[in-house]
Amino acid sequence: MIQTPPDWDQDKKLWELLGKSRPISPASNFLYEIRQKLVSKKSTIRSSSLLLSFLSWSRGWSAKLVLVAACATILLVFIPRKTVLQETSNSSSTKETVQLVQLAQNYELIQDFEVIENLDKL
Protein backbone atom coordinates (compact mmCIF):
# COMPACT_ATOMS: atom_id res chain seq x y z
CA MET A 1 0.00 0.00 0.00
CA ILE A 2 1.55 3.30 -1.12
CA GLN A 3 1.13 6.09 1.42
CA THR A 4 -0.53 9.33 0.35
CA PRO A 5 2.12 12.10 0.14
CA PRO A 6 1.34 15.13 2.34
CA ASP A 7 0.70 17.47 -0.58
CA TRP A 8 -2.05 15.13 -1.82
CA ASP A 9 -4.04 15.58 1.42
CA GLN A 10 -6.60 17.81 -0.25
CA ASP A 11 -6.88 15.39 -3.16
CA LYS A 12 -7.36 12.14 -1.26
CA LYS A 13 -10.41 11.24 -3.33
CA LEU A 14 -8.35 11.56 -6.50
CA TRP A 15 -5.58 9.49 -4.92
CA GLU A 16 -8.07 6.74 -4.09
CA LEU A 17 -9.75 6.92 -7.49
CA LEU A 18 -6.43 6.55 -9.31
CA GLY A 19 -5.72 3.58 -7.08
CA LYS A 20 -8.72 1.82 -8.59
CA SER A 21 -6.82 1.44 -11.87
CA ARG A 22 -6.17 -2.26 -11.95
CA PRO A 23 -2.71 -3.43 -13.00
CA ILE A 24 -2.26 -5.68 -16.00
CA SER A 25 -0.34 -8.92 -15.80
CA PRO A 26 2.74 -9.61 -17.90
CA ALA A 27 2.68 -12.66 -20.16
CA SER A 28 3.80 -15.85 -18.43
CA ASN A 29 6.72 -16.21 -20.85
CA PHE A 30 8.01 -12.67 -20.24
CA LEU A 31 11.46 -13.74 -19.05
CA TYR A 32 11.69 -16.38 -21.75
CA GLU A 33 10.99 -13.75 -24.44
CA ILE A 34 13.76 -11.55 -23.02
CA ARG A 35 16.22 -14.46 -23.10
CA GLN A 36 15.22 -15.24 -26.69
CA LYS A 37 15.80 -11.64 -27.75
CA LEU A 38 19.21 -11.62 -26.06
CA VAL A 39 20.24 -14.80 -27.88
CA SER A 40 18.98 -13.39 -31.18
CA LYS A 41 20.91 -10.14 -30.68
CA LYS A 42 24.12 -12.04 -29.87
CA SER A 43 23.99 -14.04 -33.11
CA THR A 44 23.29 -10.87 -35.17
CA ILE A 45 26.27 -9.14 -33.57
CA ARG A 46 28.44 -12.17 -34.28
CA SER A 47 27.50 -12.17 -38.01
CA SER A 48 28.08 -8.42 -38.33
CA SER A 49 31.46 -8.76 -36.60
CA LEU A 50 32.53 -11.46 -39.07
CA LEU A 51 31.59 -9.26 -42.03
CA LEU A 52 33.34 -6.23 -40.56
CA SER A 53 36.43 -8.32 -39.81
CA PHE A 54 36.54 -9.48 -43.41
CA LEU A 55 36.15 -5.96 -44.78
CA SER A 56 38.82 -4.56 -42.53
CA TRP A 57 41.17 -7.46 -43.36
CA SER A 58 42.36 -5.63 -46.44
CA ARG A 59 42.32 -1.87 -46.83
CA GLY A 60 42.70 -2.18 -50.61
CA TRP A 61 39.84 -2.54 -53.04
CA SER A 62 40.66 -6.12 -53.97
CA ALA A 63 38.90 -7.77 -51.04
CA LYS A 64 35.84 -5.55 -51.44
CA LEU A 65 35.78 -6.22 -55.16
CA VAL A 66 35.74 -9.95 -54.53
CA LEU A 67 32.83 -9.52 -52.11
CA VAL A 68 30.90 -7.33 -54.55
CA ALA A 69 31.51 -9.72 -57.41
CA ALA A 70 30.40 -12.66 -55.26
CA CYS A 71 27.16 -10.88 -54.28
CA ALA A 72 26.50 -9.85 -57.87
CA THR A 73 27.07 -13.41 -59.08
CA ILE A 74 24.62 -14.74 -56.48
CA LEU A 75 22.07 -12.16 -57.59
CA LEU A 76 22.51 -13.14 -61.25
CA VAL A 77 22.03 -16.80 -60.49
CA PHE A 78 19.11 -16.66 -58.02
CA ILE A 79 17.18 -13.53 -58.91
CA PRO A 80 15.56 -13.01 -62.37
CA ARG A 81 17.16 -10.27 -64.32
CA LYS A 82 15.24 -7.04 -64.61
CA THR A 83 15.30 -4.85 -67.74
CA VAL A 84 17.40 -1.98 -66.47
CA LEU A 85 19.87 -1.55 -69.38
CA GLN A 86 20.45 2.04 -70.45
CA GLU A 87 22.82 1.28 -73.41
CA THR A 88 23.23 -1.61 -75.82
CA SER A 89 26.47 -2.94 -77.17
CA ASN A 90 27.38 -5.44 -79.93
CA SER A 91 30.11 -6.96 -77.78
CA SER A 92 28.68 -9.70 -75.48
CA SER A 93 31.38 -9.24 -72.82
CA THR A 94 30.70 -5.49 -72.67
CA LYS A 95 26.97 -6.28 -72.47
CA GLU A 96 27.55 -8.63 -69.53
CA THR A 97 29.71 -6.06 -67.76
CA VAL A 98 27.05 -3.39 -68.19
CA GLN A 99 24.36 -5.78 -66.89
CA LEU A 100 26.49 -6.65 -63.90
CA VAL A 101 27.12 -3.00 -63.14
CA GLN A 102 23.46 -2.10 -63.45
CA LEU A 103 22.37 -4.94 -61.16
CA ALA A 104 24.98 -4.02 -58.58
CA GLN A 105 23.97 -0.36 -58.76
CA ASN A 106 20.33 -1.24 -58.28
CA TYR A 107 21.20 -3.04 -55.07
CA GLU A 108 23.52 -0.19 -53.94
CA LEU A 109 26.55 -2.44 -53.77
CA ILE A 110 28.92 -0.13 -55.61
CA GLN A 111 29.38 3.51 -54.70
CA ASP A 112 32.62 4.33 -56.46
CA PHE A 113 33.11 4.49 -60.25
CA GLU A 114 36.69 3.38 -59.80
CA VAL A 115 35.33 -0.02 -58.78
CA ILE A 116 33.10 -0.16 -61.87
CA GLU A 117 36.10 0.41 -64.15
CA ASN A 118 38.03 -2.37 -62.41
CA LEU A 119 35.23 -4.89 -62.96
CA ASP A 120 36.59 -5.50 -66.48
CA LYS A 121 39.66 -7.03 -64.88
CA LEU A 122 37.65 -9.78 -63.19
Binding site: L14, L17, L18, G19, S21, I24, P26, L38
Partner: protein
Protein backbone atom coordinates in the same frame (compact mmCIF):
# COMPACT_ATOMS: atom_id res chain seq x y z
CA UNK B 1 25.54 -4.59 1.55
CA UNK B 2 25.00 -1.75 -0.91
CA UNK B 3 24.39 1.58 0.75
CA UNK B 4 23.36 4.55 -1.33
CA UNK B 5 23.94 8.13 -0.29
CA UNK B 6 20.72 10.07 -0.34
CA UNK B 7 21.03 13.80 0.25
CA UNK B 8 18.20 16.33 0.38
CA UNK B 9 18.88 19.81 -1.03
CA UNK B 10 18.85 22.59 1.62
CA UNK B 11 16.27 24.58 -0.37
CA UNK B 12 13.65 21.93 0.42
CA UNK B 13 13.60 23.02 4.04
CA UNK B 14 15.64 20.17 5.46
CA UNK B 15 19.25 20.23 6.50
CA UNK B 16 21.82 18.97 4.06
CA UNK B 17 22.49 15.80 6.01
CA UNK B 18 22.87 12.56 4.07
CA UNK B 19 21.22 9.30 5.00
CA UNK B 20 22.44 5.93 3.83
CA UNK B 21 19.82 3.72 2.18
CA UNK B 22 20.07 -0.04 1.89
CA UNK B 23 19.05 -1.19 -1.61
CA UNK B 24 18.69 -4.97 -2.01
CA UNK B 25 17.88 -4.55 -5.72
CA UNK B 26 21.16 -2.74 -6.33
CA UNK B 27 22.90 -5.59 -4.51
CA UNK B 28 21.19 -8.07 -6.79
CA UNK B 29 22.24 -6.08 -9.83
CA UNK B 30 25.83 -6.10 -8.62
CA UNK B 31 25.68 -9.88 -8.18
CA UNK B 32 24.43 -10.10 -11.76
CA UNK B 33 27.23 -7.80 -12.89
CA UNK B 34 29.68 -10.14 -11.19
CA UNK B 35 28.34 -13.17 -13.08
CA UNK B 36 25.23 -14.41 -11.27
CA UNK B 37 22.64 -14.84 -14.04
CA UNK B 38 19.87 -15.89 -11.65
CA UNK B 39 20.15 -12.46 -10.01
CA UNK B 40 19.00 -10.95 -13.32
CA UNK B 41 16.06 -13.35 -13.42
CA UNK B 42 15.13 -12.27 -9.90
CA UNK B 43 15.14 -8.61 -10.91
CA UNK B 44 12.93 -9.36 -13.92
CA UNK B 45 10.45 -11.29 -11.79
CA UNK B 46 10.25 -8.48 -9.25
CA UNK B 47 10.00 -5.56 -11.65
CA UNK B 48 8.29 -6.93 -14.76
CA UNK B 49 4.81 -6.00 -13.57
CA UNK B 50 5.64 -2.45 -12.36
CA UNK B 51 7.64 -1.73 -15.52
CA UNK B 52 4.95 -3.14 -17.81
CA UNK B 53 2.18 -1.20 -16.08
CA UNK B 54 4.20 2.01 -16.12
CA UNK B 55 4.81 1.65 -19.85
CA UNK B 56 1.24 0.57 -20.62
CA UNK B 57 -0.17 3.60 -18.79
CA UNK B 58 2.28 5.79 -20.69
CA UNK B 59 1.61 4.57 -24.23
CA UNK B 60 -1.81 2.90 -24.01
CA UNK B 61 -1.03 -0.12 -26.22
CA UNK B 62 -0.60 -3.49 -24.54
CA UNK B 63 1.39 -5.28 -27.24
CA UNK B 64 3.84 -2.44 -27.64
CA UNK B 65 4.07 -2.09 -23.86
CA UNK B 66 5.09 -5.76 -23.56
CA UNK B 67 7.73 -5.29 -26.24
CA UNK B 68 9.12 -2.10 -24.71
CA UNK B 69 9.10 -3.61 -21.22
CA UNK B 70 11.20 -6.51 -22.51
CA UNK B 71 13.59 -4.02 -24.10
CA UNK B 72 13.96 -2.28 -20.74
CA UNK B 73 15.37 -5.45 -19.22
CA UNK B 74 17.50 -6.08 -22.27
CA UNK B 75 19.03 -2.65 -21.67
CA UNK B 76 19.57 -3.60 -18.04
CA UNK B 77 21.28 -6.78 -19.16
CA UNK B 78 23.54 -4.99 -21.64
CA UNK B 79 24.42 -2.27 -19.14
CA UNK B 80 25.39 -4.68 -16.38
CA UNK B 81 29.16 -4.37 -16.90
CA UNK B 82 29.02 -0.60 -16.45
CA UNK B 83 26.51 -0.60 -13.58
CA UNK B 84 27.42 1.50 -10.56
CA UNK B 85 24.78 2.05 -7.85
CA UNK B 86 24.80 5.85 -7.69
CA UNK B 87 21.01 5.83 -7.22
CA UNK B 88 18.38 3.32 -6.21
CA UNK B 89 18.04 0.50 -8.71
CA UNK B 90 14.34 1.30 -9.27
CA UNK B 91 15.24 4.91 -10.11
CA UNK B 92 17.70 3.73 -12.73
CA UNK B 93 15.26 1.14 -14.06
CA UNK B 94 12.41 3.61 -14.49
CA UNK B 95 14.77 6.09 -16.13
CA UNK B 96 15.47 3.45 -18.77
CA UNK B 97 11.73 2.74 -19.08
CA UNK B 98 10.94 6.41 -19.46
CA UNK B 99 13.61 6.88 -22.13
CA UNK B 100 12.27 3.97 -24.16
CA UNK B 101 8.76 5.43 -23.90
CA UNK B 102 10.08 8.75 -25.18
CA UNK B 103 11.65 6.89 -28.10
CA UNK B 104 8.27 5.33 -28.80
CA UNK B 105 6.57 8.74 -28.78
CA UNK B 106 9.14 10.08 -31.23
CA UNK B 107 8.63 7.04 -33.45
CA UNK B 108 4.87 7.64 -33.41
CA UNK B 109 5.39 11.24 -34.43
CA UNK B 110 7.41 10.06 -37.42
CA UNK B 111 4.89 7.31 -38.38
CA UNK B 112 1.42 8.51 -37.29
CA UNK B 113 -0.51 6.20 -39.66
CA UNK B 114 1.26 3.12 -38.34
CA UNK B 115 0.53 4.21 -34.78
CA UNK B 116 -3.15 4.69 -35.59
CA UNK B 117 -3.36 1.18 -37.06
CA UNK B 118 -1.76 -0.28 -33.98
CA UNK B 119 -4.19 1.61 -31.71
CA UNK B 120 -7.14 0.31 -33.73
CA UNK B 121 -5.88 -3.27 -33.55
CA UNK B 122 -5.50 -2.85 -29.80
CA UNK B 123 -9.24 -2.09 -29.57
CA UNK B 124 -10.17 -5.38 -31.19
CA UNK B 125 -11.42 -8.23 -29.02
CA UNK B 126 -8.71 -10.46 -30.44
CA UNK B 127 -6.28 -9.16 -27.78
CA UNK B 128 -8.24 -8.64 -24.57
CA UNK B 129 -6.45 -7.00 -21.67
CA UNK B 130 -5.80 -9.36 -18.80
CA UNK B 131 -6.37 -7.64 -15.48
CA UNK B 132 -4.88 -8.97 -12.29
CA UNK B 133 -8.25 -9.36 -10.48
CA UNK B 134 -10.05 -12.47 -11.80
CA UNK B 135 -13.16 -12.22 -9.57
CA UNK B 136 -16.49 -12.79 -11.32
CA UNK B 137 -18.85 -9.80 -11.47
CA UNK B 138 -22.35 -9.08 -12.69
CA UNK B 139 -22.55 -7.73 -16.27
CA UNK B 140 -23.51 -4.17 -15.22
CA UNK B 141 -20.74 -4.01 -12.60
CA UNK B 142 -18.33 -5.33 -15.22
CA UNK B 143 -19.37 -2.57 -17.65
CA UNK B 144 -19.00 0.14 -15.02
CA UNK B 145 -15.65 -1.24 -13.99
CA UNK B 146 -14.46 -1.27 -17.59
CA UNK B 147 -15.67 2.30 -18.06
CA UNK B 148 -13.80 3.43 -14.96
CA UNK B 149 -10.58 1.72 -16.05
CA UNK B 150 -10.79 3.29 -19.51
CA UNK B 151 -11.48 6.74 -18.11
CA UNK B 152 -8.61 6.61 -15.66
CA UNK B 153 -6.23 5.48 -18.39
CA UNK B 154 -7.54 8.12 -20.82
CA UNK B 155 -7.23 10.87 -18.19
CA UNK B 156 -3.64 9.90 -17.43
CA UNK B 157 -2.84 9.80 -21.15
CA UNK B 158 -4.12 13.37 -21.55
CA UNK B 159 -1.36 14.64 -19.26
CA UNK B 160 1.86 16.02 -20.75
CA UNK B 161 4.58 13.36 -20.61
CA UNK B 162 6.51 14.79 -17.65
CA UNK B 163 3.36 15.19 -15.54
CA UNK B 164 2.23 11.71 -16.52
CA UNK B 165 5.59 10.23 -15.54
CA UNK B 166 5.47 12.02 -12.19
CA UNK B 167 1.95 10.77 -11.45
CA UNK B 168 2.65 7.20 -12.50
CA UNK B 169 5.85 6.95 -10.47
CA UNK B 170 4.27 8.63 -7.45
CA UNK B 171 0.88 6.91 -7.37
CA UNK B 172 1.63 3.45 -8.70
CA UNK B 173 5.31 2.85 -7.95
CA UNK B 174 5.65 4.73 -4.70
CA UNK B 175 8.84 6.52 -5.69
CA UNK B 176 9.83 9.45 -3.51
CA UNK B 177 9.86 12.94 -4.95
CA UNK B 178 13.66 12.83 -4.93
CA UNK B 179 13.65 9.64 -6.99
CA UNK B 180 11.04 11.00 -9.39
CA UNK B 181 13.10 14.15 -9.82
CA UNK B 182 16.12 12.01 -10.76
CA UNK B 183 14.11 10.08 -13.34
CA UNK B 184 12.82 13.34 -14.81
CA UNK B 185 16.19 15.04 -14.59
CA UNK B 186 14.76 17.93 -12.60
CA UNK B 187 14.45 19.26 -9.04
CA UNK B 188 12.14 18.16 -6.25
CA UNK B 189 10.28 21.49 -6.28
CA UNK B 190 9.73 21.20 -10.05
CA UNK B 191 8.43 17.66 -9.50
CA UNK B 192 5.96 18.91 -6.88
CA UNK B 193 4.82 21.56 -9.32
CA UNK B 194 4.32 18.97 -12.06
CA UNK B 195 2.26 16.83 -9.71
CA UNK B 196 0.15 19.80 -8.63
CA UNK B 197 -0.69 20.65 -12.24
CA UNK B 198 -1.34 17.01 -13.06
CA UNK B 199 -3.81 16.73 -10.17
CA UNK B 200 -5.77 19.73 -11.47
CA UNK B 201 -6.05 18.19 -14.93
CA UNK B 202 -6.99 14.78 -13.57
CA UNK B 203 -9.65 16.23 -11.29
CA UNK B 204 -11.21 17.88 -14.33
CA UNK B 205 -11.05 14.73 -16.45
CA UNK B 206 -12.37 12.44 -13.72
CA UNK B 207 -14.86 14.84 -12.10
CA UNK B 208 -17.81 12.54 -12.87
CA UNK B 209 -16.21 9.69 -10.93
CA UNK B 210 -15.00 11.96 -8.12
CA UNK B 211 -18.56 13.18 -7.55
CA UNK B 212 -19.80 9.60 -7.31
CA UNK B 213 -17.28 8.61 -4.60
Amino acid sequence: MVLLKESKPPSEGSSSCSSLVHDPDAERMIRFRDGNESAFDGLVEKFKSPVLNYIYRQIGNLDEAEDIAQNVFIQVYKSAERYEPSAKFSTWLFTIARNLCLNEFRRRQRHPLQSLQQTMSDDSEASPIQYADPKARSPSAETLEKELQEHILAAIQKLPENQRTAVLLCRYEGLSYEEIAKVLGTTVSATKSLLHRAREILKGELSKFLRET
